[in-house]
Symmetry: C3
């Protein structure tokens, strides 16, 4: 199985699929090709939150604002999973998440390539062939590929940590999802036992609830989202607009 995630929209992912299918009979599963464009941090978040649900697979992740520069192509292995991506940090968080779940340490490799057909579409010309090659040789045997060498200093990416003290938490909006839910980095435990209480989000009040429909359509709420973090939402509406929040914004939450 090869999963595919990118910020390519349409129709560039098709070229990657074609390239892979020329080399492999792998089942292909689209994760998404609508990742926020050229936003490595958002891609790192969303792949961390989706790929660990899959059975062992080769995970191709291409969000690559540095395409054509001398950034390397990276292959990682964590247990029976492999990740293939540009060396810009995008797959480090998902590798740590899978590692935490499987107890296996990630191993990192550089995938050597020369003279790709383009300088602007390495998803097609570098990463898709790499994913197919890793899949065909097998994740457990990937270092037998002649194009693979150990990577000592892969670029890392870590999400900021929130601080929680008593009734107050300070953190950041990590992403806004397609529904408009503003996902912070404040751990959901901050809301434990507080259902029905009022929380101030940068001065805007909203009740803590466990279901969107606990408030009227159009009304604000704060809840623990499916990622385990505090989210600022609106029932049948957009939380980002109602709370005035964008990815990267600081948030101060106070009971």
């Amino acid at each position: 199985m090869i999963t595919l995630a990118s910020d390519f929209g349409s129709p560039y992912p098709a070229a990657m699929k074609g390239v892979i299918l020329r080399e492999s009979d792998a089942r292909l599963v689209d994760v998404t090709h609508e990742l926020p464009r050229q936003d490595v941090r958002a891609a790192a978040f969303w792949t961390r939150e989706t790929l660990p649900y899959f059975p062992p697979a080769v995970h191709l992740v291409v969000v690559d604002p540095g395409v054509g520069t001398d950034r390397a192509a990276l292959v990682g292995r964590v247990g029976d999973h492999a990740v293939v991506a540009p060396d810009n940090g995008v797959v480090r968080p998902v590798a740590r998440r899978i590692a935490a779940e499987t107890g296996e340490d990630p191993e990192w490799f550089t995938y050597e390539y020369d003279d790709p057909a383009s300088t602007t579409f390495h998803g097609r010309d570098v990463f898709a062939p790499a994913a197919a090659a890793v899949h065909e040789v097998g994740v457990g045997e990937l270092e037998s590929l002649p194009s693979i060498t150990p990577a000592d200093d892969a670029v890392d990416l870590r999400f900021p940590t929130a601080s929680v003290e008593g009734d107050e938490a300070r953190g950041e909006v990590l992403v806004v999802d397609d529904f408009g839910n503003a996902v912070t980095n404040v751990p959901g435990a901050f809301l434990d036992g507080r259902t029905g209480d009022t929380l101030s989000v940068n001065g805007t009040d909203a009740p803590v609830e466990t279901a969107y429909a606990a408030v009227e359509p159009g009304d604000r709420l704060v809840t623990v989202g499916s990622h385990g973090y505090v989210e600022c939402d609106v029932n049948r509406g957009r939380g980002d607009d109602a709370f005035g929040l964008e990815p990267g914004d600081d948030v101060r939450l106070r009971f």
Copy 2:
């Protein structure tokens, strides 16, 4: 085969796919994840118009504004097809449509679950596991699942019926499709033998045609759409804008 339909956009459907693929080798087919957001009626329409074309399958449909409340998870069986969805009526019309085609009556079951990992993403934590379980045990054997009990009073959803008298029809816009075609609930037979005639739609005139290209680009027409209903369209343009129509609007059609 498991088909997937939701209003999740990107990337939440990927988590559902991962969860299913951990439990099943089923072929997965994306129906759409761009259903009008949190619009149960539109989802009921579009699944009724697409799922019956499939061979027997488990159809996962998640449009769920009541997620986290005490609405049940529903499993239906109609012949060799199964539907898995929140108990909000969304899969009742498609079940009736398949029943009409196969001659089999739908049977309804509640899928019991407790303590899902989230209160906001039952697509991942309740419905995807349910679909995988139904697929693995087999549609014909689904009541052998310990989590399944008969459902006596599943929520129903019915589309309004148009009234037709001679040269006049009164109905409603059911949905607007991605092309901007405003699909009414007036049966296409209302236009039988009327090609070339002029129809008034809430006072706006347009010719009855059997092809978009029968009128100039940008011009209005009325036709029988692929769903069998009267549609208000524009050749290479948007009928909803040109006729001033939105889902739920009343329409009065007069020759």
Copy 3:
């Protein structure tokens, strides 16, 4: 393998998939359903740039502003590939491209049909069944289908050719991709050995570079895109906006 490309958005492609899967166990691969709406030329470009990367397959392409008129349904064969599409030119460029790569001449056939269930959705009622039938009988045997007859005068579509004289090229914007890159028809060779030089695009200057990230975020550049043509781009932004270019616009490039 059957690939699917259309301008249908959501959820109409699902009906095509269902229809095919009732007749065939073929692997289905979505190329895209977000082709520029009812834009035959853009669809011809994008299918030419993606389908040749696939292994031999039946390629279903439905961008069909003439649906319901008397335009024919076309089936083409080039080597082990088949294309199935409306007879409006949309698959002629991809057939030529595959022919150039395989050395096989395209052969064209008309797919006869009568009384499809709708006049507005031949993707579901004509082209999907045709693709399934071609797949099931086998590309090499497709003329054994009773619905197939040789097509003598299929509609053609050719992209305009740019003219290059010394330091000046005159051409046209063929498409704008999802990133906002304005892809011209000027061959990339026009930029050979010019990296770092300044090029005027209709009077707007930009440097020739081999990577988006060679310029600051938000700055213009000109590069050879993955299609082999000169593209007008912005690093982490939209080239179409920054250069004031739309598909079909004339471009005059001067060093």
